[in-house]
């Protein structure tokens, strides 16, 4: 369970990125976080994986108050959270196998187990033939899958994705969303930040809409009649 109580977050000298946010995301939920650029989506995600600390309020994951975590406890928290970054954050000089293996190496897994598990994961995502390729030789969709494999390979309790479909074509978007759904079915809580309304409307999941750092809507899938531009993105 992810809980935010009266959370505010300001970057130094700027207007608050998040303003008095209170919300609960139960275990096993699948939530879309939406809103225009600068609404505070990425900031909220960063609070969940303890990249940032709120200037006010409390963030709790499974009852654990993140604002009271010591520096040495943060790695243990992050081992239960898989994160897919907007820019993927793949290491260009390491192979796909090595990029995904990082998550398991950190946990202390043995080489053989890592190889087996990573290959299985890549196979599920349909990129097992790229196991020895380096990320720069892959297409955007393939890189996205590698990032997803790295986030999911240790079966995290929570999966966080920041604009995971931003650079993908429709076919790839569908497939990536399908992977999120499968992870969710296996019990992982999924939080996806996106401003791609088409993705949200097709999914029929809970949508939390942010505007200027506040929650302005929290409910079912966005209605079809929401203002969507030609490109499918929120206006």
């Amino acid at each position: 369970m992810i809980q935010l109580h009266n959370v505010s977050m300001s970057y130094q000298g700027d207007a608050p990125a998040l303003n008095d946010i209170t919300l609960k995301i139960p275990k096993g939920d699948f939530v879309f976080l939406t809103g225009q650029s600068g609404a505070g989506k990425s900031t909220l995600l960063k609070l969940i994986y303890a990249e940032l600390s709120p200037t006010r309020g409390q963030v709790l994951i499974d009852g654990q108050n993140l604002t009271r975590l010591s520096r040495s406890q943060i790695p243990l928290l992050r081992r239960n959270i898989g994160v897919v970054f907007q820019d993927y954050k793949l290491l260009p000089n390491r192979t796909v196998l090595e990029n995904v293996a990082i998550t398991l190496e950190v946990l202390g897994w043995g080489k053989r187990d890592i190889g087996r598990k990573v290959f299985h994961m890549l196979k599920q995502l349909g990129i097992e033939d790229k196991v020895n390729a380096t990320p720069l030789k892959l297409s955007g969709g393939q890189q996205q899958r590698v990032a997803l494999a790295r986030a999911l390979v240790n079966d995290p309790k929570i999966l966080i994705a920041d604009e995971p479909t931003g650079n993908l074509d429709d076919e790839n978007k569908e497939q990536i969303l399908e992977i999120f759904k499968e992870a969710n079915i296996r019990g992982t809580t999924v939080v996806v930040a996106t401003h791609d309304r088409r993705v949200i409307t097709n999914s029929h999941r809970r949508v939390i809409r942010l505007e200027k750092g506040r929650v302005i809507e929290d409910g079912g899938a966005a209605p079809e009649h929401a203002a969507i531009g030609e490109d499918g993105y929120e206006q």
């Binding site: 040495s72 928290l77 992050r78 390491r94 990082i102 897994w109 043995g110 019990g187």
Partner: protein, 315 residues
């Protein structure tokens, strides 16, 4: 598979225990060196060049110091006698002189011996010595001092102790020369230390900044490791081992380059410069200094990496 069961299945950990972790970190460090070839070559090259400059300085300094030590052998105290003492008296005097702290060798030069030396020195100009007999030349005792007892004050106190012995006549020891020689040695050592420290600071600065840049180039890797839940130690350990390996490799390369420089240019530089005609040329650094260079390389790599990592690891 249920979620609960799935989370429960965890393979046996391989990194448990000191050796398990160490072997993982070492293999990671080696893989990093391989995967970041350019950056590694730059770092190793910088360390090697920096240490080469420092060790060239050390080589020259050690040789000059050694040479100067050789000159100090000329610090000698000579006692002249008005009348040549009897052999028994010579033995007794020798014993008493050797009892003065600082004396290392006493040689008695009889009048005969003095004449022989003079003739040898004036070879080819014997005519100058016509009419000169051994009686004209005084007998003497040449006293050498320990290396640790050759500074101006020590020589002076030795001479005053010497003068207290009965039967000792005129004492000469080139007071001015000893003074000048010792002030030269002090200046030489001070300059050496100043230049050495300046060089050490420069080496430290260049190497630590190079390492900082190479770690900065890989800050994404540090960030990703932190985001997937690696502890600070887990992130840093391979980088530190990498730093040690790069430092050691740089030091070995600098010693190899020094050897090449030595055999190509420096070995006979003594003759060329005419500074030390007694020996064939400069000698190579002793093993203790070479071990020091290796240790210096390792420390440079380790400390350079450790200080840079402090800035870039935020976990």
């Amino acid at each position: 598979m249920s979620n609960k069961a799935k989370h429960a299945v965890r393979p046996k950990l391989e990194q448990e225990g000191f050796f398990g972790r160490f072997s993982y970190f070492s293999s990671r460090a080696l893989a990093n060196l391989r995967q970041n070839t350019f950056v590694s070559v730059v770092t190793v090259g910088t360390i090697a060049l920096a240490l080469l400059i420092a060790s060239l300085f050390l080589l020259v300094y050690v040789n000059l110091d050694h040479m100067a030590q050789g000159w100090s052998d000329k610090v000698q105290v000579t006692v002249y006698f008005d009348k040549e003492p009897a052999p028994l008296a010579v033995t007794a005097l020798k014993g008493r002189i050797m009892n003065i702290p600082g004396a290392s060798k006493v040689v008695f030069v009889s009048q005969q011996e003095a004449e022989k030396r003079l003739r040898a020195r004036l070879k080819g100009q014997e005519s100058l010595l016509e009419g000169v007999t051994a009686d004209v030349l005084p007998a003497s005792m040449e006293i050498s001092l320990d290396r640790s007892n050759r500074d101006t004050a020590q020589v002076a106190s030795f001479v005053s102790a010497l003068k207290k012995i009965d039967g000792i006549g005129e004492v000469q020891y080139g007071e001015e020369w000893v003074k000048r020689f010792n002030s030269f040695m002090n200046l030489f050592r001070l300059m050496g230390m100043l230049l050495g420290s300046f060089l050490a600071v420069t080496v430290l600065f260049i190497v630590s900044n190079t390492i900082k840049l190479t770690i900065y180039a890989r800050k994404d890797e540090l960030e990703v490791l932190g985001l997937v839940g690696a502890t600070r130690f887990f992130i840093k350990a391979p980088f530190l081992i990498e730093g040690i390996l790069q430092g050691a490799l740089g030091a070995v390369l600098s010693v190899v380059a020094l050897l090449v420089c030595y055999y190509t240019f420096l070995k006979n530089a003594g003759n060329f410069l005419g500074v030390n005609p007694a020996s064939a040329g400069l000698s190579f650094l002793p093993p203790a200094h070479l071990a020091g260079i290796l240790l210096g390389g390792v420390l440079l790599g380790f400390i350079g990496s450790a200080t840079s990592l402090r800035r870039f690891v935020n976990v």
